[in-house]
Symmetry: C2
Subunit: 418 residues, 2 copies
């Protein structure tokens, strides 16, 4: 089992289905793979780009965290609709089987299209013929899940409810959730297909509470890659944790054996925040003000007074309320989180303004030592607050990886309980 997930050549869904689901030994071949390295500023291995590479589903950690960031996102939070624990566990097993197949580029169900004409297809079909496109599916459990199924004693201490931060303007319809699935892929149709099929399989047991499409990545988890720009036109998250930095991942992202509870070892905690940008106001702000707010130059993304994006920032050269200065680990006792955010635009707000911004996703070993202290500081002081508003929020315990073909999402939580 490696710390990271590899990419490799994989046939199209079409071909796999044509072979009757026999498939390829993707898992075994990819288990030793290394993280794809960027060549041209993209988070994608050129060979994988050509073949629509599959990301290994099995591992000590779930894929979709340290995995090089894919281009597109479909994220869904679900509410549980059943009180039947066995039915819910069976759904998690069914989801795992479906996730294993979809991430390998296969349709859900062995007989998806050779099946019975009288029955609904096992797979909704819109990804048929598409490549795996580096699809990863990552599950998380929200605080409210632990009020169900006799799980109260198993809720991790680190899975705290997020406090109300200054300036929060949360929409209940975009906040919370008993569980979540993050689908990332280089093809949005593959990501949308995956969430939709999990929702379909979960019908009667869970229902989608909210979902979010992310049209473009804003973060990079690949060393030396160009950080993509957010909708403010800036490179933010330049000093993100790379998927190859085993030591920093262990220190800041993965729950350790001694952190507790046991079932979370190898897992992580996810904070999701829907951050609306006041695009129109920002666009009428001077370049100087914009650069002061971030503490970077807009063109290169270099910290104030420096030449290149990845140059070490000299924080004291920035204004005290500059975003980079306030968010930097040196200003926060070393706090570091792994960011995987995506830009979104969801039409207009009825006032002629785009409903657009950043769907912020961050993974960390402990929310109490990661997002919460960082956001307390930022929400109180960040110059950026004039131009953004947090309108959705959720936190999830992300369990460890599915180890092999007999394992399933949530086993460590559900199977060890008395």
């Amino acid at each position: 089992m490696t710390e990271t997930q590899g990419t490799q050549a994989a046939p199209s869904r079409r071909a796999l289905i044509g072979w009757g689901g026999a498939g390829l030994a993707l898992g075994a071949a990819a288990a030793g793979g290394a993280v794809a390295m960027a060549r041209t500023g993209d988070d994608m291995d050129p060979a994988a780009a050509e073949t629509g590479g599959a990301v290994e589903f099995h591992g000590a950690h779930q894929a979709g965290i340290a995995t090089p960031v894919q281009d597109r996102l479909h994220f869904a939070a679900f509410d549980v609709k059943t009180e039947d624990r066995d039915a819910f566990v069976q759904m998690l097993k069914d989801w795992t089987d479906a996730a294993r197949r979809m991430t390998a580029g296969k349709a859900v169900g062995e007989g998806a299209y050779g099946g019975l004409a009288e029955a609904p297809p096992d797979d909704t079909g819109e990804a048929l013929g598409l490549k795996p496109s580096r699809l990863t599916l990552t599950i998380g459990f929200g605080p409210s899940l632990f009020d169900r199924f006799g799980l109260r004693d198993r809720r991790p201490e680190a899975l705290v409810d997020l406090p109300q931060f200054p300036g929060d303007n949360l929409d209940r319809a975009r906040t919370g959730g008993d569980l979540c699935v993050q689908a990332c892929s280089d093809d949005p149709q593959v990501a949308v297909h995956a969430i939709r099929n999990l929702a379909r399989i979960g019908f009667g047991k869970v229902a989608i509470r909210w979902s979010q499409l992310g049209f473009g990545k804003t973060s990079s988890t690949t060393p030396d890659a160009q950080t993509p720009r957010n909708l403010m036109g800036f490179k933010d998250g330049t000093r993100n944790i790379a998927g190859t930095e085993t030591d920093r991942l262990k220190k800041f992202v993965w729950v350790g054996e001694d952190d507790g509870p046991d079932w979370m070892a190898g897992g992580s905690y996810l904070v999701a925040r829907r951050i609306r940008m006041n695009i129109e106001t920002w666009d009428r702000t001077s370049l100087q003000e914009q650069e002061d707010v971030f503490g970077r130059d807009k063109r290169e993304g270099a910290p104030v007074g420096k030449a290149k994006e990845h140059d070490e920032p000299f924080l004291k050269a920035m204004k005290p309320d500059a975003h980079v200065r306030l968010a930097h680990p040196d200003s926060n006792n070393g706090i570091t989180i792994l960011r995987r955010g995506y830009s979104f635009t969801d039409g207009t707000d009825g006032l002629g303004r785009l409903d657009a911004g950043l769907f912020f996703l961050a993974y960390q070993r402990d929310v109490r030592k990661g997002f919460i202290p960082l956001q307390r500081r930022l929400s109180a002081h960040d110059a950026l607050n004039e131009y953004i508003q947090h309108v959705g929020s959720a936190v999830f315990a992300v369990p460890p990886g599915v180890r092999d073909s007999g394992d399933w999402w949530g086993r460590t939580l559900f199977s060890k309980e008395a």
Copy 2:
């Protein structure tokens, strides 16, 4: 001037900006280009894929109609907020300049990042460093525009208000608009950037009425390409007009010299419909029913009784209410439209269901001989109606192309008027 737009190698936005906006003679070089031919089921020329090719902005027709369909869409309808005709015309000229630059992969404004620190940047910046990505920008004028600026006498007869069709459930907030811009690109950030910058330039003169992100194309305008699947999992629009079919384009898409009014010669008419799919109901429908509804097999997309997607359908083998049968030109006195639709998903509807479907875009020479009779028939009889609902609607007169660097969007409409 050619009938079609070419693709060609083009440097990145970064490089162009670095050269101080001197740029390349993109227009001249590309004017003689041919439509990119598909090789691998995609609507993209492999060489263009490597270089992030630019689509020529100038031509007898606007780009974005016969242009091979790009992967992503951002579409916006605007309302006019000024009564000052000169200000509006100046905005159209400014938009044209910006569109010319953005489609060539350049930032808006010569001094976008070398400009004054005290002023807002000329460009919002989030596409800086991205390639042209085959961006096309296509403008259209809605019926309500002709109630303004003394244009009443210039409204084309063919630009009728769409009738209410059976089953229409239109949301006023997603319907109509004085004008529209269709932005298509292989990179969603490039398309979103373009609409946002036009909205910014138009501030005070226009405001966005509604907008729609399309995450994946559902149509192909490239001969022999695989038709992408819609969110029902089917290939629909298989027999679309290809961008290379000059005769069919002339017959069905481009407004002719004798059609009138003069200012529309070389233009077209666009119908946009937001079609919500009842995804969850569809997914619980049997494969047989699904295939009966479309009149195609799901796996290959072949018409009933045939083997391949592009085989000539035998309509009488299908059920009388099958979608393909009802929509086929042979059932409609030869009516043919050019489709350029995109799949969308905009979160959830508050009832645990995805708000997803098809954003239908169709170009035609005359709406009265294209979409209206076709939709009258489909809305009354199509078996698909049980699973879809039209929730947004708009129609636009799409003027001819911008001929050269001195020309501008809407000149034929505004400059010839007394």
